[in-house]
């Protein structure tokens, strides 16, 4: 049997179902690997080995008695440490919450526990999922990229992506207000899905941004993301934005034919952003793969997309984040890391007019994107304009709002779809010249995750980027 820690969720579920593998064996293998590898990678904030082993024993007994709850039954996973876990401290990587032990589980934890998933622990993020790059001075030291520990794993769901890439967990639940699932997924060579706004309930998440915040899975394969989404999705009565839309059986729709599917690419937006050469080459190869599936590829222009970062990342998210933190910023300032305090507090210089203008821009740009989606089925973009190491640029970017001189550059391809609420999937699509992963992003219509998941899955059937493992750990 191959290394248990690098089985996919789908493979492990099959072995568990046929009694060739027990949740206890699988969980123990992960805990052993975490003990060996995580001191280097620092992906865990709180490891819950006892909880995990107790849950694994219960799962093993249930399965032996013939009760298999779901494909996640007995599967070891982690949660970004902004997601409340009853009886397990939940810190948001901040001293403000250093000793907080929630009494109840977040909605997503209840959903995954009911499906039988095993909780390995709580994983790293940049402070409050918004501190920008984590630093050694933070309350918890930053996680490291398993492909090269000198480089950032991306953020803010850094521990989720690092752990999945390094074989420390089979999946993780992250959060994404501007790219925080997709950016670390791309930097660590794993798969990350930001579902449609409203698809996954957020009750129990330490709040940051009400109208651009999402929860979603980080896994090694698209198939595993589809499995996790099936059990994460569904109405959450505690979340006013939660949708009652039917949850399709995503993992059973992955074979949907792509012949004739219309793929949109936006060279004008990519020119405006500016990109690394290695990343552009990987993007072009990816487009060729989709053409080989029988997809048609056409160029599209979303007229005001280059204002989306300003609206989403810099107005809406910052003002909502400032409000979410107002009392703590005022009363517990000394408990914030310097970077987190400054980054969150500076949102307080934006006015109510700025906020409303941001929300008007949301209407404008969402309407334009909807129009574009009348002529295409999937929008294809890089996940990030650069790799964490940086490298030679093919183009520097033509628009000062978002090009490499702007601090919003990293989120240039992700943040727009927090604004529009569109589902967006990042999958590995290559490596740069020094061996760091590159991601590509598939964006779909609202509540049509099934199409981007099918496209991502079929891409992974003919490529092996998602099967490569960080060599330094072997």
């Amino acid at each position: 049997m191959q290394d248990l820690c690098y089985l996919t969720i789908a493979e492990a579920a099959g072995l568990i179902r046929s009694r060739k593998l027990s949740p206890v064996e699988l969980t123990k293998a992960h805990l052993d690997r975490i003990a060996k590898v995580d001191p280097l990678l620092r992906s865990f904030i709180t490891l819950t080995a006892d909880v995990a082993m107790r849950q694994a024993e219960e799962a093993t007994q249930e399965i032996a008695a013939g009760k298999i709850r779901s494909p996640l039954h007995g599967i070891p996973i982690t949660y970004k440490d902004v997601i409340a876990t009853a009886g397990i401290r939940t810190t948001a990587a901040s001293r403000v919450y250093e000793h907080w032990v929630p009494e109840t589980d977040a909605h997503v934890v209840v959903k995954l526990r009911t499906a039988g998933a095993i909780t390995l622990g709580k994983v790293h993020l940049s402070e409050f999922a918004f501190a920008g790059g984590a630093t050694e001075a933070d309350f918890v030291k930053p996680a490291r990229n398993p492909w090269n520990t000198k480089y950032s794993p991306g953020g803010s769901s850094s521990g989720s992506a690092v752990g999945v890439a390094a074989g420390l967990a089979m999946g993780s639940v992250g959060s994404d207000s501007g790219g925080s699932i997709r950016i670390p997924a791309a930097y660590c060579g794993v798969t990350g899905l930001k579902p449609t706004y409203g698809r996954v309930g957020r009750t129990g998440e330490i709040p940051f941004s009400y109208s651009v915040g999402h929860l979603g899975p980080i896994t090694r394969t698209v198939e595993d993301a589809a499995i996790m989404l099936e059990y994460l999705a569904g109405f959450d009565p505690g979340d006013r934005a939660s949708s009652k839309a039917e949850v399709p059986p995503f993992s059973r729709l992955l074979g949907h034919s792509l012949r004739g599917a219309r793929i949109g690419i936006s060279p004008s937006y990519m020119d405006a952003v500016g990109n690394e050469e290695d990343l552009m080459s990987a993007f072009e190869s990816c487009v060729r793969v989709f053409r080989s599936f029988g997809c048609t590829v056409r160029e599209v222009v979303v007229p005001h997309l280059n204002y989306a970062c300003a609206a989403s990342y810099n107005c809406i998210m910052r003002i909502e984040g400032f409000r979410a933190h107002l009392e703590n910023l005022r009363d517990k300032r000394s408990l914030y890391g310097r970077g987190a305090f400054r980054n969150i507090a500076r949102g307080g210089f934006l006015s109510s007019v700025d906020y409303l203008r941001g929300q008007q821009a949301r209407s404008l740009i969402s309407g334009e994107l909807s129009k574009i989606f009348e002529g295409i089925d999937i929008l294809l973009m890089p996940t990030t304009p650069t790799t964490p190491s940086g490298g030679a640029y093919r183009s520097k970017g033509t628009d000062p709002k978002i090009n490499r001189t702007s601090f919003t550059h990293e989120a240039a391809y992700t943040s727009p779809f927090n604004l529009t609420g569109s589902p967006a999937l990042s999958v590995p699509c290559g490596f740069n010249s020094i061996g760091l992963p590159i991601g590509i992003q598939l964006i779909g219509r609202a509540f049509e995750e099934q199409l981007i998941l099918a496209a991502g899955h079929q891409y992974q059937q003919v490529t092996d980027w998602h099967r490569r493992r960080p060599q330094l750990l072997s």
Binding site: T196, Y197, G198, R199, S211, A241, S242, S243, K244, A245, H304, Y307, C309, A310, A311, Y313, N314, C315, I316, R318, I319, F322, R323, L326, L329, R330, R333, R342, A345, R346, G347, G348, F349, L350, S351, D354, L356, R357, G358, Q359, Q360, A361, R362, S363, L364, S366, K401, S406, F407, T408, G421, A446, F447
Partner: protein, 83 residues
């Protein structure tokens, strides 16, 4: 008195740029506006406030870009109603 567009235009031309200049925020007006900003709720010491104000400049510059958008009559989209 009925509004006379021609007279109004003529008067504007005589006044030249004066009305426009008055419409721009004067330093005093900007100060008054800034007193309403949420940052004041934090009651920060002056040195911390000054540091943050400087650190906020790129964010404010980003926000100003939105003034270029054709938003007249566009309803805010904050009520994002999921299906």
């Amino acid at each position: 008195m009925r509004f006379n567009r021609r007279k109004f235009a003529k008067r504007l031309a005589i006044l030249g740029a004066a009305p426009m200049a008055a419409a721009r925020p004067t330093p005093a007006a900007r100060d008054a506006e800034s007193e309403c900003l949420p940052i004041h709720e934090l009651k920060l010491p002056p040195d911390v406030f000054a540091d943050l104000k400087s650190y906020a400049r790129p964010v404010l510059a980003q926000a100003r870009y939105l003034e270029q958008l054709p938003l007249q009559g566009v309803e805010p989209g904050f009520v994002f109603v999921p299906r």
